[in-house]
């Protein structure tokens, strides 16, 4: 296998939180705590998990939109965390992001044309204004809008259309890698499929490599090559999508999959119900962070932090009881 386009090693992003009084001890939220994966060129990796599992922070940290505390992010051979501000800005052309909320992610004071052309201007793509305008028109058509939309403003569009504009903005700088942060979860179900199909097409046509952050497992299954299940800032299980859905091994993965709706009532197997809520990332449980809610946890789970172990080709699980 060739060298991965994106390689993340032991990434940690911790936030200090202020105590109740200025004198109380400073606490630390471990939003991302030892994340690691490789992503091959042209593949889509999905990060899934409940809210609070750190998937969004993980995505932002990979792009250095949030500064990670420690770890390594290697993008096409360069260590992103070692870049200075100017180098990082230049590298941003190659990695883009699509946001969750299409109503918040477009500057309301900029016309659609300017929004999409901004990145081109910054990175010197296109020769002159006219050429850039043509490129913007082509991008608009590529994402299913039209040239006339260029002079309009974001508030004139529906959620789905805005998300297409956001996608066009990301594509405008011809990136190799796109981080899609729950790009459809704010949209109507009827619109979701259209946007997902668009992403699928773009990926096929442009050979995009993507990290897709999501919590809807049916959406993830449709789109991804690899799936990583996150819990409290760590990966619990990572595998090829088909493999993960066919053979979920980690008890948390089982629980997540059994909670997903199925098309045929009664077709669902045994439901694995989780008790309680996600523990606070300020004070994660010792040993395996999932043990407080795990149906098969034993006393030894509190003692050791489980490593991700290979249990099959490309299938790795962090559980000492399974695999």
């Amino acid at each position: 296998m060739s060298a991965p386009l994106l390689s993340v090693r032991d990434l940690r992003t911790h936030f200090p939180v202020r105590g109740a009084t200025p004198f109380s001890r400073k606490k630390i939220v471990r939003a991302v705590d030892g994340l690691g994966f490789d992503l091959q060129r042209g593949q889509i990796l999905s990060l899934v998990g409940e809210s609070g599992s750190g998937k969004t922070t993980a995505g932002r940290s990979i792009l250095r939109l949030i500064e990670p505390t420690s770890g390594q992010v290697e993008f096409d051979g360069t260590d992103l965390l070692a870049l200075n501000a100017a180098e990082l800005r230049a590298t941003r052309r190659r990695m883009q992001i699509i946001f969750q909320d299409p109503f918040a992610s477009l500057n309301p004071r900029m016309s659609v044309g300017r929004i999409i052309a901004e990145g081109m201007k910054l990175h010197g793509i296109g020769e002159g204004t006219q050429d850039r305008r043509d490129r913007v028109a082509a991008l608009l058509e590529r994402v299913g809008l039209s040239r006339e939309h260029m002079t309009r403003y974001p508030h004139e569009f529906s959620g789905g259309q805005r998300q297409r504009i956001g996608i066009a903005r990301a594509l405008a700088v011809e990136p190799d890698f796109i981080l899609a942060d729950e790009p459809v979860s704010a949209l109507d179900v009827s619109i979701q499929a259209q946007v997902l199909n668009l992403l699928q097409d773009l990926r096929a046509d442009l050979g995009l490599t993507m990290v897709f952050i999501g919590h809807d497992l049916s959406v993830v299954e449709y789109l991804s090559d690899r799936v990583a299940v996150m819990y409290l800032g760590r990966i619990m299980e990572i595998a090829d999508a088909r493999d993960l859905y066919a053979r979920p091994t980690h008890p948390y993965t089982e629980a997540l999959l059994s909670a997903a709706p199925v098309p045929v009532p009664g077709a669902r197997g045994q439901r694995v119900l989780l008790k309680g809520e996600t523990p606070s990332p300020v004070a994660p449980p010792s040993g395996c962070v999932f043990r407080t809610r795990c149906p098969i946890a034993g006393p030894d789970c509190a003692a050791t932090v489980p490593e991700l172990r290979e249990i099959g080709p490309g299938h790795r699980v962090a559980c000492i009881k399974r695999g």
């Binding site: 946001f99 004071r109 901004e118 903005r169």
Partner: protein, 276 residues
Amino acid sequence: MARVLRRMLRRPLGALGLLIVTALVVVAIFAPQIAPHDPTRPDFMAILQPPGDVYLLGTDELGRDILSRLIYGARASLQAGLIAVLLAAGIGVPIGLVSGYFRGPLDEYVVMRLTDAMMAFPVIVLALAMTAVMGPSLYTAMIAIGIVYSPIFIRLARAQTLSVRETEYVEAARALGNRHLGIMVKHVLPNIASPLVIQMSVSMATAILVESALSFLGLGVQPPTPSWGSMLRIGTNYMSEAPLISFWPGLAIFVAVLGINLFGDALRDVLDPRNR
């Protein structure tokens, strides 16, 4: 620009504001052509005259034509309002924007506490102290008002920036590879502009009042040059015999303040793409 004006004229209140502001500016610029008399030439044969044929709005205690003095007075008042506010916004908005964008201890402990200290003083008292130090004239009054008003703009720009900097479109701008300056100018500033425009129009109106007050106290425009504030002050001495002497400059201030506020409101609405 033409489009902005056209859209403004479509709003009745905006049109009225625009009309008042334009009229004031025209009057101020063409004061020598419009004024029927010399505003500083006394006519001792006609002191404290009521409105009449020769002196349309009457005369003051030295027999000077009130209408002409009002017309010339528009110059001092409008200049004071405009320049003071431009100065205040020119100082305040960049400081507030940068301070709110970067946060940090400099923002929290230096910029904010200094503005707190400045805002703790009543505007007039501070402006009074400054003009007293710099010597009384229209220009020191304008500078003093501008500086005294700048904390309002620092505060407002900072508060707005704090909310805008957390939006996803600012994050998107960073992800595209913008510099901080580019983000501030292209993405933050346009989105904090609405309240700033309103604040400018409100401040311009109150700056005219403060200039009037300073002139009233003898710290602004120096006699015999007319300003609405100094006319108002003199008029109070003759309140019982000739109340109209202070009524006219008071009315002028009222109309100017109203017009500028209407103009500011309409400008804010028109500049927002969502209102197209």
